[in-house]
Symmetry: C5
Subunit: 354 residues, 5 copies
């Protein structure tokens, strides 16, 4: 929900105006640069933005990773240096973007969400990642949460024989997207585990807490649906070679990525259908237990109300109740009560209430 | 609902007949004119319609804002002066239009809703805005509610260095649409807040008022759906350069607007799904509380009915009840009652009712 | 439902066989003719079908309105005289047609429903209207219910300066369709009013009658959906200039009509969604009231069962109950009962049942 | 469901292997031949398959009707004689085909279901019909149930002036399809009647039997949906003139048939929506009756529990209860009880429970 | 669910990295080779992968069946020998693939699930099958579960006159796909039987176990939906002759297979709709039984509460209760009680509670 709450600040401003939305405002801006080709690799934090400019024209691939969006100056610098359109810069700052890919000729802009679970494994952390792919560079902007999912890509880059080293910036784009989508699977796995736990709970001992857990999961899946669904279109458009920046050799890998994305969506929909079935189970189990309770009440009442009436009857103080004076009176009433109780029990047995 | 109620007046009239529908009839008609180019800006209320005519042929952009549709003469004048088709004039007056864009060659007609919340923040105020875009002019017709959302655009126009000043009338169209869509976000934010409040209420202490609040919200979202959904098609058609009146430089901004519109719809659908899940929660919580109530009743009845029977039994006035005369009678019955009560409690404990 | 019941008569007959279905059989067949151009207008009932033939070849537009389908001879005559295909004649008689438009080259066949409310405003009267548009003539066939919605078109025709007089038969087709669609709005308005009444009832005092009213409205909206939905396709096909019989000047009016049709559908869907939400409200309010009832029962039972037990206890006739003889016995039991009742009330207060 | 149960026999066999599935195995195989042109008609049962061969090359239309699929030899013979592909023969035998039309160049294969109600009017009998249309012949294969719906077509063939006699084999195909679809209407009419009966039952006195009837109807409509839905595509493909075997003169009749098919689907969907609404009505009426029952219980308990307590109270055997000895005691308690009962009744009146 | 749990291992690895997922790791890898043409057939287990290489270039069709994916070396060997792309090898190992077909020019890659029921007939066993079709070879990779569904294809291959022997490798592909889809029918038949059993249970004696059985079936159908749905697209793409490896003679068989696939989906959807209707039946039957229980309780309470009150009343110990001393007192009270009980019974009879 938080993502909805920040749009209002922007209402009515000129398009392309750079202002902070959401978390972006706080924290620092850290810039890292990796320059590599098949033979060598250069990797270090960047202190002055001008450094990026220099790398722009030498061969090899340059990957600039910007973590944290607090420093608007850095962004403006990148904007003018790499010729990025103000609307794109605005989108990078607006951290509630719907995943999308837009081709600006000189460069390709891809924005999506990086998903992870917090330590307890119950809350979903989501961070927006913007990727700007040029001819021989890729700039990634992260919203600024501690850590990212790119470590494995960095590890592969270090390895001189990795295919990644021999390919262009578009292959790096694929690698980053691939690792992000792989982490989607990780999150879905955890949620699937949680759904199975709830399933067991439902059968053993369902409580209102179970319903609230189902509802919370439903909302998380709804959120993931909002994040995953547009991604399919994004990857599909990349793979259709709409852009000249994507080489033919990369297309086959993007097709593979597309298959993964479809599978993520498939799994998500399966989880959603499972959850919706669960509430029905819960409601039917609550109804059943109500039935059980009512049966107990009815059995007790049906047996003891007539008996109590009989006992009350012979507690009346009328003159001239011949039964009271007869020596057979008490045993007869005793027998009558036994018959009534027994008859009721047989009746309930036949009705399968017992 | 009110929007449905006014169509009937028109039934059977010739198309293009100008009659008032809904609120349009009351109030006054106020016309404001802004004429601007990069170097100067001229802004004043219009008293005679002929004034608009003069501005028509001089360079620069003319923005005429008509607030209130009561004065049919003004409309007819604009119609003949700017060559607006009678059907368009009819649409401007019919304040229950579905958002749409229609290209009439010489000019482009866009109609949509301006949304805001009332002071209390609970009711949605909606006002129809018709925009007629020509080569170098834009005429906006408002239904006539007090105030509009265009103030920020007017403020930007005053600023000489604003991009708005350097562009054509199509960019002004974009600016107005953009600010309207931005206000959609504002309304959705408030509704999202309200949904979160209801969520808390649902868990703490749900009442029938909660259900009615959910229903009211559902209807508001249904109304917004009706307003937002066709807008997507409208902006999409504008951005596809179907019209010669839209310049290439504006298209990229319209694409950005399209992304916002899709995001508005996305958010709306998320809110709708959240609401529909809530009713399930409510029903399951009501069922649960019924179960609770019934358990209390059953426990009480199951314990006290047998005990009352026993007490009643020994209140009978039969002759020859040996128990009554035995000195162990009373303590024995006392013990029996304790045993029954205790046994019941153990039974309920085992059934987890306690 | 009635419309379903008449198809069976036709099973297995050769296509193009003219037989009556539904209401069509009864009543008389009345034929009216209007011949007009810009300068003069001629209007009178037709007694011999040959008369229609004569008008066929003179300039100006001829509108023949056939009310009631009982006289098969009249239909056959029109068929051979205007070259109407037997399948079309069969369709005209089959009064359960789905709205459709079919282009037969020489003429265009449009069939749809005319909707009105009965006097009480609760039942929907529907009558099938078939329109055959030729180069300079239009023949309308009505099922034969008393009255139609065309009066306003007839009034406009009398007016010499009406645009209708200056245009061809295709514009007359538009005028008739337009007035029919306008009456759809009228019916929807009344239904919307009724839905609002039910809404108030739901909140104040919902009964089973409310549910039945909802169900009845649902069925009416379902019927209207069946009538309105195909119409959209019909008007859309007319407007796409598929037929040479539709002139360019009329297309813009048909586009306007198309917008109205979409709006009718929009409104209808809104009403349907509102209704479906209402049943949920009803069910949740019924559950709530059940809860209320059960709480009252439980409170009463929980307070009086223990008290009754105590009273019963001291009504026992045992020898040797020391409490009975003690002077403090009665006041002590009195105090005990007060304590129990008070404790229970406090407990229910805490549980928020009171 | 039965249709699902026979597929397994075939698992793993080579495609085109002819084996029996379902009912097809039992009964006899009866072959009838009708040869006709405009001037003469020849009609008789066929005893030797060679006879069919002879008719193949003479002018006029040959209609061979095969009733019962038990005799595989007959099928193989037809297969080789008319050049029918083994896969088609396999499809003819597999009596659980989805309706479809396939163009094999030389001939057209159409398979669909013939639907009728049994004598009691409660069960749907369905029989598969395969139609093979060649240049001048049509072969129809029926599964072998007693009787078919083609009698009226046979009657029309006898009539020398029938259009059927003057047209080719494709018109015969249309005639057979038309009469099959007409019988769909017959079945839907009966189901619609049954739904109306259930509606009355729902309002008067709904029982579990009503729910089971609704469920049974739902399944029947589900079955019909499975049968009708693909037919639309079948007729649509025939009408699109995809095949050379369909002449232009027949296309207009197929378009008419297509309209009927769409109408069948429309009616079916209406019935399905009506049914789904009914279950809601049922549930809400059950909830209401539960409420009624609980109110009666609560009213009785709330009035008599306090009264019983009072009566029990003065049945206690304490010494020193001054009320018992006072002459006003009994009348005072009598008055108290009346007051309590009256107060309760007023309370329930105010709560609208009475 | 298990299929979701293994993706995480791969997160961040370079694409094309071969690692085991799920069951694939355990067990052995068995390779069988069949080489055949019209005149001879050669069939034996393979011990060295080089053997496969030799067969590659001689005429006739080679079918290599790899059972078990534990031995990565074998896979890598096949990869380099038949020029299979690393991404395809990765897909073969990733045993949670969505069914898909991908054309790599030289070869065609098809992956889908082989479905069977376990011995008890309650659990669905699913195994992934990857098929690589080349010009004259077909390699099938199975996940490694004991047994497969290909026995019947092997049997047909032995038969010298089988069409299979005379056709190319694409026909073998069709044969394998066909037998897999035929087994889908087998599974659906068993599930349909189970659904019918549950239906009977629902009407006779529904319990919570019934609901859980419905839920379990729902999940199984959901799983099958995930498996079957993409297959339709797969077969459709094969049949559209997108690949040069599919010959025209095979296309007609693939079209037949496509029809089967659609039928499988149809049946599956029917089963799903049947199941969803069942839960409604269950809930309404539970509500009904609750009503029954409550009626019994209410009848008992309504009859005996007033009676008990009367009995209690005359058990009071007041002085001066004239009724107690009158000789008509006891019979009068007796008559009063009979009247009350009788009146209640008549009332319940009238309310149809009895």
């Amino acid at each position: 929900m938080t993502s909805i709450k920040n749009r209002s600040k922007k209402a009515g401003l000129a398009p392309g105006t750079l202002i902070h939305m959401g978390r972006a405002k706080e924290g620092t801006t850290k810039v890292d640069l990796v320059h590599y080709d098949e033979t060598h690799l250069d990797k270090h934090p960047v202190t002055s933005v001008d450094e990026c400019l220099i790398k722009k024209d030498i061969p090899g691939v340059t990957w600039i990773n910007v973590e944290g969006l607090a420093d608007l100056e850095v962004l403006r610098h990148f904007g003018s240096c790499y010729g990025i359109h103000p609307l794109v810069l605005e989108d990078i700052l607006a951290t509630d973007q719907r995943p999308k890919a837009a081709d600006y000729g000189e460069y390709l802009y891809v924005v999506l969400k990086m998903i992870a679970l917090d330590e307890g494994g119950t809350e979903i952390k989501s961070e927006q990642v913007s990727l700007v792919l040029g001819q021989n560079y890729l700039i990634s902007f992260q919203e600024g949460l501690e850590g990212d999912v790119f470590e494995q890509v960095r590890a592969r880059l270090v390895n001189e024989k990795a295919r990644l080293r021999a390919q262009g910036a578009d292959f790096l784009l694929h690698a980053l997207l691939d690792v992000i989508v792989d982490h989607y699977f990780l999150v879905l796995e955890t949620l699937a585990d949680r759904i199975e736990d709830i399933e067991d709970e439902l059968i053993d001992n369902p409580t209102t807490a179970t319903v609230q857990a189902i509802y919370r999961l439903k909302r998380q899946l709804l959120f993931l649906h909002k994040v995953f669904w547009p991604l399919r279109e994004v990857v599909s458009s990349l793979q259709r070679r709409d852009s000249l920046l994507i080489h033919d050799t990369t297309v086959i890998y993007l097709r593979d990525l597309y298959d993964h994305t479809v599978q993520v969506l498939d799994t998500l929909e399966t989880l959603r259908e499972m959850l919706s079935g669960m509430l029905d189970i819960y409601l039917s189990s609550v109804s059943n237990r109500l039935n059980e309770v009512m049966k107990v009440l009815t059995i007790i009442a049906t047996i003891f109300m007539p008996l109590s009436f009989i006992a009350g009857w012979y507690g009346m103080n009328f003159k001239g109740m011949p039964e009271l004076d007869s020596p057979y009176g008490y045993p007869a009433v005793f027998a009558l009560c036994l018959t009534i109780a027994g008859g009721m029990l047989v009746y309930f047995k036949k009705k399968r209430w017992l």
